[in-house]
Amino acid sequence: MSQDSYIQLKSVSKKYSRGGEDLIVLDQLDLNIPDGDYAALMGPSGSGKTTILNLVGGLDVPDSGTVTVAETEVSSIPTRQLPAWRARHVGFVFQSFNLLPVLTAHENVMLPLQLTPLSAAERKKQADFALEIVGLSDRAGHRPSQLSGGQEQRVAIARAIATDPDVIIADEPTGDLDRNSADEILELLNRLNEELGKTILMVTHDPAAASNARRILKLDKGHLVSDEINRQASGQTQGEA
């Protein structure tokens, strides 16, 4: 692992079987993302973006190669222990929000906190704080069906940060939102990165969304084809293919 790599994929390959044929999604991929970075993964459908998120988030395991997050080799953690690792280190934000419709916003944010050793009062305090960060304290008692798409995604972000994870993984977080709501979410992710120092790995098809990231990684057919520092976001340019 290079000295400043927080997320490192080394010679990672992944294939899926579809209709009896093997479909190579990632092919000997190497990727390094430093601590506190905000990276956008772009590329056509099937290029392996979501697979990378799944591997980094410990939702899937590579066929070969290693995935390391915060000096822990995720790809070697036994399957049984992966949920506990995820609970401690990763916060997920999904395109379709994935809130539980039967729970209120506050209860949704409380969900990952159930897995922490915090007391009930501490959990509540932490959930309140997370909702405050995303500006939804006044909607805490509302169910997802009573919230707008943008608000749902903000609740999902509050849920992702409630346990104070090392990494936030966002899969098309603005994909289901209108421009205004999308901008609010991107602004929120910027704040999480800049103010709270969260390392963010975001998959997006939207160039406007990607322009918020400090770094833009482009994938095609399982290979990294571009790794650019976003001048607009970081104030400096450094590109390599």
Binding site: L59, W85, R86, F92, L100, V102, M110, L111, P112, Q114
Partner: protein, 405 residues
């Protein structure tokens, strides 16, 4: 309430139509289970409460063939026999055929002593109650030829409301009076049954009232006994005594068959087929079919929760959490349905007794049935939840998250 329980309960109440219908199905199944088992237990209670120190002597040909009155002293003379009384079915009714209750002609001197352990005399002549009531009733029964002893149900039921000293006309179905009228009986004693086998709406009257009326031409019929009830000494060999009684009458005029009271009671149950088995099978079949419908409902719930399982796994919950949620949901649905079914069974208990009390004696939703209903509902719910939840242990989070559930 901790998280899995709260989330599971939210799911129970989130899909009101599906879970409402499942709860309704379980309610009906548990009600039927309780009802049918209470009937079966009622029937069994009659058999089980039969005395181990009492024999019944009937005609070896058929229960419907009478026995000579001369048999009683001969049976009484048997070693180890303590009391013998003839019993004869009267089959009349009070005012209207719908007001039917059993009436038996019994021995005036023996009957009260025979049933010391089976019923408690609670009221005798001149309002006497307590320990002295039995002797007072025994005396009155032996003195007044038209005397009758009734169960407390005939006193308490507003339809009858019989009291000590009342003269009760019973319209005969078998033993018609020459004048075409009713048989009048004078109530001298009221008893409370101590054994499940004895109904509380029953009347015993003197057999000599019936037989003397027949002999004098005031009524039509035959002077005879239906069966003889025979009390024997505690600890004596009932089979040997039964054989000895039957041997005494081998040469007639009627051959006898003597059995224990329990065997005699069983005869009536088996006469209508194996009713307990039949009712138990019906109850079991209902429960079995409901089980599949509950499993089906939970499988549908499971399919709808697949994405939720993926979300929970992504958040760090182990796969067993989703399985556990479905088990709790299944258990909650089954227990709500079971509780409602039980409440229905308990709530309708008086109604059942009121309407079918004479045919379903000892009908009671007792603590055993309550426990059985709760246990059955729990097993039903847990099993259905397991059927739906176990596949969740196999799903990878990425598969579950891709689902549309």
């Amino acid at each position: 309430m901790n998280f899995p329980v709260r989330l599971a309960f939210r799911h129970v109440f989130s899909n009101k139509t599906r879970n409402g219908l499942t709860i309704l199905a379980i309610t009906i199944a548990v009600f039927l289970l309780c009802f049918l088992l209470a009937v079966v237990r009622g029937i069994d209670a009659g058999v089980r409460s039969a005395s181990s120190t009492r024999l019944v002597t009937q005609s070896a040909v058929s229960l419907f063939v009478t026995l000579p009155m001369s048999y009683r002293p001969k049976i009484d003379a048997q070693e180890a026999v303590t009391v013998t009384s003839e019993f004869r079915w009267f089959g009349g009714y009070y005012q209207d055929p719908s007001n039917f209750f059993p009436q038996f002609a019994v021995n005036k001197d023996r009957f009260v002593d025979m049933y010391v352990k089976d019923f408690e005399i609670i009221e005798g002549p001149n309002g006497i109650t307590g320990p002295g009531a039995r002797e007072a009733v025994k005396k009155a029964f032996a003195t007044e030829k038209r005397a009758a002893i009734i169960g407390m149900g005939l006193r308490d039921d507003e339809k009858y409301n019989f009291k000590i000293g009342d003269t009760v006309p019973i319209i005969p179905a078998i033993y018609q009076r020459a004048d075409g009228g009713a048989w009048d009986y004078v109530i001298v004693g009221i008893f409370k049954p101590l054994k499940a086998r004895i109904p509380d709406k029953i009347m015993y009257f003197r057999s000599d009232y019936l037989n003397d009326s027949i002999e004098s031409g005031e009524a039509f019929g035959e002077v005879a006994a239906g069966v003889y009830y025979v009390n024997i000494d505690q600890g004596s060999q009932s089979e040997m005594i039964a054989t000895s009684i039957d041997q005494d009458f081998l040469n007639g005029p009627q051959r006898t068959q003597t059995v224990t009271e329990a065997a005699f009671a069983s005869f009536f149950v088996s006469a209508i087929g194996n009713l307990p088995l039949f009712l138990g099978t019906v109850g079991g079949a209902v429960l079995f079919s409901i089980f599949f419908s509950v499993v089906n409902a939970m499988l549908i719930a499971g399919r709808q929760r697949l994405k939720e399982a993926g979300i929970l796994q992504a958040l760090g919950f182990p796969p067993i959490t989703s399985c556990l949620l479905l088990i709790i949901e299944g258990l909650a649905v089954a227990l709500i349905g079971g509780a409602l079914g039980l409440a229905l069974a308990i709530g309708t208990q008086d109604l059942v007794v009121l309407n079918f009390g004479d045919s379903i004696r000892n009908y009671e939703i007792d603590s055993g049935l309550i426990l059985l209903a709760i246990g059955t509902s729990s097993v039903l719910g847990i099993t259905a939840g397991l059927c739906a939840g176990i596949p969740f242990l196999r799903y990878r989070p990425t598969e579950a998250l891709r689902s549309m559930g």
